[in-house]
Amino acid sequence: MAFALRSLTARRYRIEGDVPPVHSDAFRTRLSDRVFRPPSEVEEKAIGWVTADNCLDVDFDSAVLVRGPCAAFALRIDRRRVASRIVRARIDLEWRARRKADRDAEGGPPIGSQDASRGVAGKARGRRGGREERAELRRQVTEELLRQTPPSTEVHPVLVLPRERTVLLLSLSKRANDAFRELFAATFDVSLSALTPYHRALEMLEGRGASEALADVRRTEFARPAGLAARRGASAGAPPPLSSSMGSRLPAESESPVPEARS
């Protein structure tokens, strides 16, 4: 299952700082220090690097890292999630069972009678450790459910382009990108800047004093004001305003949150 690039969906980052050369042992060592380790039975999340070829392979010493113009590896995130509704339901059942056991031990009135409910409520209120006991019960139930829940796995390839000092995460998921930035920064002691239009503009205009060049930039309206559009449009062959003839032929412009679609 060798890594292949059939389709590309990616976010690009600038590496701010020095990453060891991708051919070097130092690069491999940094990755090896943060390899993926499966979450323990009671951990909700685990995150780390795996090879680009196989998400179960974390042996960066022998892995082929450099591919063409870049180094390729992958980010693996395993998550276990227990539904909070199930946790609450299990706690409730467990809590009832404990209270019943307490009553039975003390020989109290049967469940359902008024005395019984008064007795339980009174006891619960009077119980000094009630809140702590419930918190402990929640922890136990959550751990037990986590043990029974297999983790879900996400794998996102990462491409480091040393010549451009950029790194690409092949995912646009916000959660994956946040996790990636944090782990990459911790692995290589660098920071990553998303190459947004603004950031790219700062870089490209550096020779012209980027901040000054961008200082006067204001939003541009590409639509002409209605009256002017009608006057100029008459000479440019534009259709008359929507309210006249075009309104009957074209679909009305969406003013509602429902997106228009044309197929």
């Binding site: 590309l8 591919r67 063409g68 950029t166 190459l195 961008l214 412009e253």
Partner: protein, 184 residues
């Protein structure tokens, strides 16, 4: 514990409109002068493929999505632009010699998605992967070329004239509208 934020709070620098303006300009430019040239004179041709998404200033509440056909030449696309919307996402084709790359560009963060890279040559899977990675790098080079060309005019005194040309194009009847008017 609240950890300090390492990165700037707004990575778009308060200029959320810059990406959509670029993509709107690129759609216009593709319809007028689709050729861009690298410093080594390599030409790149830009075309709009079959997907265009336009948004109003306040985001998704006013959205026009055009799929299939030639959305850049459609009446709906022009009408949306005349209502002040800008292109926030488009499926583009970058042609460089024999090589064509189709991809969707999301304007706000310049994210590339669903890029169909040229079919790679090579005997082994390793060679094909390397060829794909080089194609990917060329895609970003071409995208940077377009964005640089936009910035050069955007941050110059020539922008008013350029923006006016875009406005003229927006105001002009689209091919669909012209066909409809002629038939009517």
């Amino acid at each position: 514990m609240i950890r300090p934020v390492q990165r700037p709070l707004d990575e778009r620098g308060g200029m959320d409109y810059l990406g959509p303006e670029f993509l709107t300009w690129l759609v216009w430019r593709a319809s007028q002068r689709p050729e861009f040239r690298h410093a080594d004179a390599t030409p790149v041709y830009v075309h709009v493929d079959d997907y265009l998404e336009l948004r109003g200033e306040r985001g998704a509440a006013k959205r026009t999505v055009l799929r299939a056909g030639m959305p850049a030449a459609s009446a709906e696309g022009k009408v949306a632009l005349r209502h002040g919307k800008t292109v926030c996402s488009a499926r583009l084709i970058f042609a460089r010699g024999e090589e064509e790359t189709t991809f969707t560009l999301r304007a706000e963060d310049l994210d590339v998605s669903s890029a169909k890279l040229p079919t790679p040559d090579g005997e082994s899977s390793e060679e094909r992967l390397e060829a794909s990675l080089y194609s990917m790098r060329r895609l970003y080079d071409d995208l940077d070329l377009c964005y640089r060309t936009f910035l050069e005019v955007r941050c110059s005194t020539g922008w008013d004239v350029e923006a006016d040309s875009v406005r003229d194009w927006v105001a002009q009847a689209s091919e669909e509208e012209r066909a409809g008017l002629a038939a009517g």
